[in-house]
């Protein structure tokens, strides 16, 4: 199938899947209880509750409520977030920028380090670096992210005081304009070295925490597929042509080992989204994950729905992108089979 046709087909399937996701989540939330709670205080009388229900169409039958909700979503109205005391759509952009900044930092760390480590270990199979990488990989898959973060906090923040928590130092952040919501970008735009260092400094611990698990996943995959590729005939064929080992590795083995690794990198998007919840809680990072966690604890349905829907979109789009990169990397792949 043509790549373009494939993308179009997948893009058409995307909203249908999302509709399915929204129906599942919507029915689950509404079966468990009405979202009216976020608008209530505990001393309201039943009549007042009814009045509020009418205001938000919560007295209607479930399918009608769903229709209202869906119409709201298409118009950019995702409901009221009880946690943030504001409409979801208004809160979302800033939180989104915070989470993205963290995730991108973590992803950069994870992909760069994961690929490097996987390659390093794969080339030195069964030697010391390889063993160490395997230990890192297995422990990375077993390490509870939230605990790892706490251990880092105990050591580097509470005891050594090297790194801060939170997203920025308040005074510094207030001193510059923030057009993008990405603190590092804003600092660069404002030309403030202090603000940039501050933003980066705050990023260090959370992005290491968030990235570590992904490093493990990527390194593990890269290592095993590199080992597999290094045993292929074409690697020897490349050597037989007189290519130096550096080129054999770079141009032939590693490039092909990247093909299966790309899939895993795509999956780490989900991993990062999931991990961001715990990492943001621990490091007091004001992003979507922390918001979601509070929403979950306080029963804020509109926020939960939006977040689930958003991660699904992200996840599905990431998968699509991965498929496309996959096809670009490996000409044998025929998409849609």
């Amino acid at each position: 199938m043509q790549l373009r046709d494939y993308i179009i087909r997948r893009l058409i399937a995307l909203p249908i899947l999302l509709l399915g996701v929204s129906i599942i989540v919507f029915s689950l939330t509404r079966i468990a209880g009405s979202p009216v709670g976020v608008y209530l205080s505990h001393e309201m009388s039943p009549e007042e509750v009814l009045q509020i229900e009418q205001r938000y169409n919560l007295d209607k039958p479930l399918p009608v409520q769903y229709a209202y909700w869906l119409r709201g979503v298409t118009q950019g109205d995702f409901g009221w977030s009880g946690v943030a005391s504001a409409p979801v759509a208004e809160v979302f952009p800033a939180k989104f920028a915070a989470t993205m900044e963290l995730s991108v930092a973590a992803a950069v760390v994870a992909v760069a380090l994961g690929l490097w480590l996987g390659t390093y270990a794969g080339v030195r199979r069964n030697k010391m670096p390889d063993h160490i990488t395997r230990i890192v990989a297995v422990s990375g898959a077993s390490l509870p992210l939230f605990w790892f973060g706490i251990v880092l906090l105990i050591v580097f923040w509470a005891n050594l005081g090297w790194f801060p928590v939170g997203r920025s130092t308040n005074d510094i952040w207030e001193s510059i304009a923030h057009p993008t919501g990405f603190y590092t970008l804003d600092a660069i735009l404002a030309g403030s070295w202090t603000a940039l260092m501050d933003a980066l400094w705050h990023l260090v611990l959370p992005s290491i925490t968030l990235g570590f698990g992904a490093v493990a996943i990527i390194a593990r995959m890269m290592r095993s597929s590199l080992i597999e590729e290094l045993q292929q005939d074409y690697v020897d064929a490349a050597r037989a042509k007189g290519l130096p080992e550096r080129l054999v590795l770079k141009r032939h083995a590693r490039r092909n080992a990247l093909v299966p690794t790309v899939t895993v990198i795509g999956l780490t998007i989900a991993f990062l989204m999931q991990g961001a919840i715990a990492a943001e809680i621990i490091f007091r990072w004001p992003g979507l994950g922390r918001w979601m966690a509070s929403a979950v604890v306080r029963g804020d349905q509109a926020t939960i729905m939006t977040y689930v829907l958003f991660t699904s979109v992200l996840f599905l789009v990431a998968n699509l992108v991965v498929d496309i990169i996959y096809a670009k990397l490996d000409p044998r792949v025929r998409l849609g089979d």
């Binding site: 608008y39 209530l40 800033a94 804020d300």
Partner: protein, 552 residues
């Protein structure tokens, strides 16, 4: 005066530290600092007609708007504010029949938009709240009591009540709902529509208060600027409220010096003690007793699975008393509340008029007495399981855990399930009538007058008495009801105090709640903030920024 100088140099230091060469205000008079405050809850709305009692918006409304009367720090005494005198019988501003209140108003006051303040604004503000009658607001505190509002002249306002009410000034004039808004501003922006919130007013407050709102970045922060045209004592510094911060973040920020003041509660004291530059300050008690409610009106088949108690379990006074004896007050107050708390009598909080220090209270665990009562009630051998619903992760949940440990230590057949639920779920559960749980834990709502508490929490026909069927439990419900009604109408303080003392004894003998503690009013702030005070009657007891001076 060297204050300006210190401000200036502090600014220089801050600017240098930030690596920014910002222009520094030249004149010392303008050198105002900004107090950075870590707030607990972002306002949902800043409209007095829409704000929920206790919500984050109240604290902002408190600073931006004025009311007719105010209370200052130190005592619950009513002070003039936009009204120049506090109406009393003695000064003749309360009519002989006790129904008409007259407020002489301050002249020369302007709103933040520059328009003049008159009696029309007062009438408009009050009528507006009653006409809009939004379910989330406390509009009923006016509409339940007020029969008529009248503009006598530009600077005289009059109110007529439905019936005599000893607590009118406290309960209806003081709350944020009674804030005076600019009539011009409202009418120019949507006017008044019954049952519908006014979007303009919800984020554009136009008041007469010591501060004016400059910016509000939703989910991030809100800045209040000193109102230089304020009629009263000028505030010292601007204030920036930072939002979206969990309690532990606020605590950390305070330790790091990023915040000057934060909202906190006694359970965080352990995390702040010994932190350099942080002052933990406690003064008196919050007027919000932490209580656990007994449901005497449990609907058939509604209890959570596993609960074995009969529906009339709490009808038996011995069981209610046994719970009160069994609770480990010491663990709660000295453990969870870090010593900041005290138990108050049923149901008059310490610090409220009529509180009797000699009234009998349940404040020590007496397991033997609890056992005796449980045996007498005939539940000892069979045992029971009962769930208590509570907001998960809250201080109330810890109170429930202590109850659980206390009751379960008595007898292995006694089981308390702590059903922690999300805040929204809890609010919804408690807005049912009847409530579908046998027990729940929360705090009472603050008020200044004992009648507000007694009517809400003890009267058989009161807000909770009706929902929870207190009439099923009191030995003599009519007598209790009559006593509480009489207290509300009694205008003679001495007589009233005597009646209240009597009520405390009656309610001790026939308790409808388990009061774990009255939480201490605790605040924590940086040592460069001067003038810290606490007044439990303010929306946030330690927050009256107009009184605070930041001298960093």
């Amino acid at each position: 005066m060297s204050k300006g100088e210190t401000h200036d140099s502090a600014r220089w230091a801050a600017a240098l530290a930030a690596g920014l060469m910002l222009a520094v205000p030249a004149t010392a008079q303008n050198a105002r600092d900004t107090i950075v405050h870590g707030a607990d809850e972002e306002p949902a709305t800043l409209d007095p007609a829409q704000v929920e009692p206790g919500a984050g918006g109240e604290a902002v409304i408190f600073h931006v708007y004025d009311r007719l009367l105010a209370v200052g720090p130190g005592s619950a005494e009513l002070l003039p504010s936009l009204a120049t005198q506090v109406p009393t019988r003695d000064n003749g501003l309360i009519s002989e029949d006790g129904l008409t209140y007259t407020f002489p108003l301050r002249e020369g006051v302007t709103f933040h938009d520059g328009t003049a303040f008159t009696a029309d604004d007062v009438k408009f503000s009050w009528d507006r709240v009653m006409e809009m009658d939004l379910p989330e607001s406390a509009s009923d505190i006016l509409s339940d009591k007020v029969a008529e509002t009248r503009v006598v002249d530009d600077y005289t306002f009059e109110v007529t009540l439905n019936e005599v009410d000893a607590s009118f000034l406290y309960s209806s004039v003081l709350p944020m709902t009674a804030s005076i808004v600019s009539q011009d501003a409202v009418e120019a922006n949507g006017g008044v529509v019954a049952g519908e919130p006014n979007e303009y007013m919800s984020d554009t407050p136009v008041g007469t208060g010591p501060y004016r709102l400059t910016t509000w970045n939703r989910t991030e922060n809100l800045t209040l600027e000193v109102n230089d045209d304020y009629w009263g004592d000028m505030a010292f510094d601007h204030v920036r409220w930072e939002f979206g911060l969990d309690p532990d973040v606020r605590v950390l920020g305070l330790r790091a010096g990023e915040f000057d003041t934060v909202e906190t509660d006694p359970s965080y004291v352990a995390d702040l003690e010994g932190a350099e530059g942080v002052i933990i300050y406690s003064e008196g008690l919050l007027l919000e007793p932490l209580h656990i409610g007994f449901n005497l009106n449990i609907p058939e088949g509604a209890l959570p699975e596993g609960d074995t108690i009969p529906l009339d379990f709490f009808h038996d006074v011995r069981i209610r008393k046994a719970f009160n004896y069994a609770f480990d007050y010491n663990a709660f107050i000295n453990g969870a509340l870090a010593g900041f708390g005290q138990v108050n009598p049923h149901y008059v909080p310490i610090g409220v008029f009529g509180y009797d220090p000699d009234a009998p209270i349940y404040d020590t665990q007496d397991l033997a007495e609890a056992e005796r009562l449980f045996r007498e009630a005939g539940v000892w051998d069979e045992g029971f399981t009962v769930s208590v619903v509570v907001e998960s992760g809250s201080l109330f949940e810890i109170q429930c855990l202590i109850l659980k440990d206390s009751i379960e230590s008595l007898n292995p057949n006694f089981r308390i399930n702590v059903a922690g639920v999300a805040e929204a779920v809890f609010d919804e559960a408690l807005s049912q009538n009847p409530v579908e749980y046998a027990m729940w834990a929360k705090n009472g709502d603050p008020a200044a007058d004992p009648s507000a508490y007694l009517e809400t929490y003890s009267h058989p026909d009161g807000e909770w008495g009706e929902v929870h069927g207190f009439a099923n439990g009191y030995a003599d419900p009519e007598a209790v009801g009559a006593l509480i009604d009489a207290i509300a109408e009694e205008l003679d303080p001495t007589v009233r105090a005597g009646m209240i003392a009597e009520a405390q004894q009656v309610l001790y003998d026939d308790p409808m709640w388990l009061i774990g503690a009255q939480e201490g009013a605790v605040t924590a702030y940086r040592d460069w903030i001067n003038g810290m005070v606490i007044q439990p009657l303010w929306p946030r007891p330690s927050m009256n920024f107009a009184l605070y001076d930041k001298a960093q």
